[in-house]
C-alpha cells in the first residue's frame, strides 16, 4: 500500500492525443513527512504516520508538537497509512514521485456537507406526483407496519444530516503526474470541496 496526503485543487479538462476530452481532478501532493512508525510487535499493526502542511507557529500547542521528531516542524494534518510498502525512516520526506508509476488510484476524502436533507435527496426515495391532485410530494410516507412489530426498524430511511462523511472512490485512472508542480491528475470526480484534504492510495482492486 502506498498512500500520501494531498489537497484537492479543483477540476478541469484535458485533451488526449486523439483530441478526446477527459474530465480530471487536480490534486496537489506536497512534501509528506514520516512522523512515526507503528510496528506489529508494539502497536499490533504496521503503519506509518504521515504529516503534511505547515502550521502557524502560534497554533502549535506543546503536547501536540511533542510527537514530532526533532528536525521536523509540526504539521497540520496527520494520517496513518497501514502496511506501507516503501521502506522509510522517521523524518523522511516523501513526495509525488511515489505515485509516478501508478495507473489507478483510490482516493479518500470528506464529502461536502449537505445539511438537513429529506428522504428524496438523502435516501433516493422516489417521492410522489407533483400535480394531478396528488398531495404526496416528497414525504417519507409510512415507516413501518402495525401492532406487530409495533416499532420502527433500525436503519429505516429518514430525514437528517447528510454529507461531510469519509468516502473512498476506487479505481480512478491517473491521467498525469507532474513532478515539478507536485500535482497529480486523475480522471473523474473526487469527494470534497476544493482545498479539502484527500488521501491518495494505490488502487486496491486493480493490478
Amino acid at each position: 500500500m502506498i498512500g500520501l496526503i494531498g489537497k484537492k485543487v479543483g477540476m478541469t479538462q484535458t485533451f488526449d492525443d486523439s483530441g478526446l476530452l477527459t474530465p480530471v481532478t487536480v490534486i496537489e501532493i506536497k512534501n509528506n513527512y514520516v512522523i512515526a512508525q507503528r510496528k506489529a510487535d508494539k502497536e499490533g499493526y504496521n503503519a506509518v504516520l504521515l504529516g503534511a502542511y505547515e502550521m502557524k507557529k502560534k497554533r502549535v500547542k506543546k503536547p501536540y508538537s511533542g510527537q514530532f521528531p526533532e528536525n521536523i516542524t509540526p504539521k497540520k494534518h496527520l494520517r496513518e497509512i497501514r502496511d506501507f510498502d516503501i521502506d522509510c525512516n522517521i523524518g523522511d520526506k516523501l513526495g509525488i514521485e511515489l505515485l509516478e508509476d501508478l495507473r489507478f488510484v483510490d482516493i479518500i476524502g470528506t464529502t461536502k456537507g449537505k445539511g438537513y436533507q429529506g428522504v428524496v435527496k438523502r435516501h433516493g426515495f422516489r417521492g410522489g406526483k407533483r400535480s394531478h391532485g396528488s398531495k404526496f410530494h416528497r414525504e417519507a410516507g409510512s415507516t413501518g407496519m402495525a401492532a406487530s412489530p409495533s416499532k420502527v426498524y433500525r436503519g429505516t430511511g429518514m430525514p437528517g444530516r447528510m454529507g461531510a462523511e469519509r468516502r473512498t472512490v476506487q479505481n480512478l485512472r491517473v491521467v498525469k503526474v507532474d513532478k515539478d508542480k507536485q500535482i497529480i491528475l486523475v480522471k473523474g470526480a473526487v469527494p470534497g470541496r476544493r482545498g479539502g484534504l484527500v488521501i491518495v492510495k494505490n488502487a486496491k482492486k486493480k493490478e
Binding site: T12, Q13, T14, S18, G19, K181, I183
Partner: protein, 117 residues
Amino acid sequence: MELIKAVEAKQMKENAENFNVGDTIKVYFKIVEGATERIQVFEGLCIAKKHGGLRETFTVRKISYGVGVERIFPLHSPRIEKIEVVRRGRVRRAKLYYIRKKVGKAAKVNELITSKK
C-alpha cells in the same frame, strides 16, 4: 486556482480566439476515420461562446438543406486545424439564441464595418 490555470495553460492554443460572436466562420475540423484522417469544413454563424480557459467552447449555426444545424466545438481542441473568419458581424449581445426563431431576412446579422484609421 493558479494551479488549475497552469495545468490548462500548457494545452491552450495561442491566438485561438480570432473571432467574435456574430461572425461567420469556417471551422476546419479533423475527422478520423479508422486510419485515415481528413478535414471537414463547417461554415456558419458563431452564435455563442461559453466557459473560459481551456474549457471554452463556441457554437456555430448554419442552415443545411433548410434545417438549422448547430455544432459546439471546444475552442482549444487539437482537432481544430484552423478557424477562418468569413465575415465580421455587428451584434449587440453575447448570445444570439434569438436567431433560432427567425427566418429569412430577420435571421441576418449586419456586417461589422470598422472605420479605417
